[in-house]
């Protein structure tokens, strides 16, 4: 029994059951109090039914087809913005590390980007750029930029003095110092930044979608709220967006393992041990365990 409780699947199942129970309780409550529009919080089976229904929700597509096709549009825009944000974040971190002057000028003010309510400014950005597509990509890029830049810079700064001195003793050129030491060492930090910003880029793209038509998840989201396109579509999109966010985060984790040989090696070893591939889950488990132990001690 203890062994089952410890597995990852058990904790997932635990949360699914709890959330479903809370959801259903809320759905019954909402149905009893008669909100407008009606059935605003449908039962889970209604949402699942909507996902598998063959009934067309607009001229041409079923609910699932609509969600998937708009998701493709949204993900494409988010990915484009994300790529631009990642590239510019990395380049800025590199420049800040190369030049103390650039770091002094840029670093203290980098924080400010985080402080500006970019999503709130979306309507203004839309009217300035005049194109919903450009503003979507721009906003996703701005949100991606900061975590990538700061984490990458932290990665460069994590290189110990001894490594610089060792490279100096080999008379290594600056270029080799970067390609052989600084960039490889900052890769895990760089991916930490990307793990933070990938779901943010998707959220940003969806939110900007709600402003104007032209397809995308956010666009369908607001339509489904306004018209009676069936509220289930709305919830279908909410669930699917959450799923996309998780996938984008996971994808960064997989890419990280691919690009960090030492982690790839460890994960290979773990697979042969029949254990989990993801490294951080093990750490999580460990901290969870020590927490439990502390609880036991207190008792």
């Amino acid at each position: 029994m203890k062994k089952i409780v410890k597995t990852r699947w058990f904790s997932i199942l635990f949360w699914v059951v709890i959330l479903a129970a809370v959801w259903e309780a809320a759905a019954f409550h909402v149905a009893a109090t008669k909100r407008n529009p009606e059935n605003i919080l449908p039962h889970l089976y209604q949402i699942i039914a909507a996902a598998f229904s063959t009934q067309k929700v607009n001229q041409s597509m079923t609910a699932t087809q609509l969600v998937l096709s708009s998701a493709a549009t949204t993900v494409f825009r988010a990915a484009l913005g994300f790529a631009i944000g990642v590239a510019s974040g990395f380049v800025l971190a590199l420049l800040m590390n190369l030049s103390g002057i650039i770091e002094k000028i840029a670093f203290p003010y980098l924080m400010i980007i985080q402080m500006i309510p970019i999503l709130g400014m979306a309507p203004i950005i839309l009217s300035i750029t005049g194109s919903i597509n450009v503003s979507r990509i721009l906003i996703a890029a701005i949100l991606t930029f900061y975590p990538v830049a700061t984490n990458t810079l932290a990665g460069f700064k994590s290189v110990e003095k001894e490594k610089y001195e060792l490279m100096a003793s080999y008379a290594a050129k600056k270029r080799s110092l970067y390609t052989k030491v600084l960039i490889p060492q900052c890769i895990p930090y760089f991916f930490t930044g990307m793990k933070i910003s990938a779901p943010m880029a998707i959220t940003a793209a969806i939110l900007v979608d709600t402003l104007q038509g032209d397809g995308g998840l956010g666009c369908v989201l607001s339509q489904s709220l306004r018209h009676a396109m069936s509220i289930s579509v709305f919830w279908l999109i909410v669930f699917f967006s959450a799923f996309l966010g998780i996938i984008s985060w996971k994808l960064m984790g997989w890419l990280e393992v691919m690009f960090t040989p030492q982690k790839r090696h460890l994960s290979k070893k773990k697979q042969t041990d029949g254990k989990d591939v993801e490294l951080c889950t093990k750490e999580k488990n460990r901290s969870g365990k020590s927490f439990l132990k502390a609880g036991v001690l207190q008792r």
């Binding site: 003793s169 060492q185 890769i187």
Partner: protein, 265 residues
């Protein structure tokens, strides 16, 4: 005198009246070395010993051009330390292994060879030989995080030997290791030194270690760092672990200990 003896008496590093002053992290002026003069012969194994703060690491770093002298002169093979560094004549071993986590053991040893534009084949062969010398052939494809501290330090030493440096500078390389590993590495180091005949400058605060390894021991005293004595180690070579229990060994340890100013550390 044979030619080999001649080359052994040749001065490799000459240090004249060296002063080094630097500022620590809190901005205070530290007089690390004052008026140090020393000649180190080619192929010699020389130890710098002394309590912490005596400037032994600073002296090593100044020879390696990682620290600028404030006054005085250092010549390495007749040139300035900087020129020698740029000619890749130094091999440095720090107290910490300073390995690169993302490279296998083999690739860690190959790194300096890559910087020296060795061909892939030569790099591979040289690193393989070095790993064999330190007894880590079976771990060539492991990553540093999979090795014990002693094994990591052996990789570090293999890497330093891989570039065949003229001068090997070692800064307390074994001080973080347990006694058993340390003794094993002492013997490995002496064997590699004998095979390659490099000049070794070895910083340590362990007197027994210095006596066991060295030809000469330079004793430094702190505040400011000065060279207070040079002790010739008269033990025969090759050295064996049994020598550590001889009266001769112990009297040398005693002699080094007594040369610290004030009689003891």
């Amino acid at each position: 005198m044979t030619t080999e003896e001649n080359s052994r008496n040749e001065v490799e590093i000459s240090i004249e009246d060296l002063d080094v002053t630097f500022h620590d992290n809190s901005g205070n002026e530290v007089r690390a070395l004052e008026g140090v003069s020393l000649d180190i012969r080619k192929g010699e194994f020389i130890s710098l010993v002394g309590p912490s703060g005596c400037g032994k690491t600073t002296l090593l770093r100044t020879i390696a051009d990682l620290q600028k002298p404030t006054d005085g002169m250092i010549h390495v093979a007749g040139r300035l330390p900087r020129e020698e560094r740029l000619m890749q004549k130094f091999g440095i071993v720090f107290q910490q292994p300073v390995l690169f986590d993302w490279r296998t053991v083999q690739k860690n040893v190959e790194l300096p060879l890559e910087l020296m534009y060795y061909s892939r084949k030569d790099r591979h062969q040289r690193a393989k030989d070095m790993l064999e010398m330190v007894g880590l052939s079976d771990f060539a494809d492991s990553y540093p995080s999979q090795l014990s501290g002693g094994m990591q330090q052996r990789v570090n030493i293999a890497r330093a030997f891989a570039i065949r440096p003229e001068i090997l500078l070692m800064d307390e390389p074994f001080s973080a290791l347990d006694e058993f590993t340390k003794e094993k590495l002492h013997e490995d180091l002496l064997r590699m030194w004998r095979q390659t005949n490099k000049t070794v400058i070895f910083v340590t605060h362990n007197i027994q270690e210095a006596v066991f390894l060295s030809d000469r021991i330079c004793v430094l005293s702190p505040h400011p760092g000065r060279l207070s004595a040079i002790v010739d180690v008269t033990l025969n070579r090759p050295r064996t672990a049994e020598m550590k229990y001889t009266p001769e060994f112990n009297s040398l340890v005693e002699k080094v200990r007594n040369s610290f100013e004030g009689g003891s550390i």
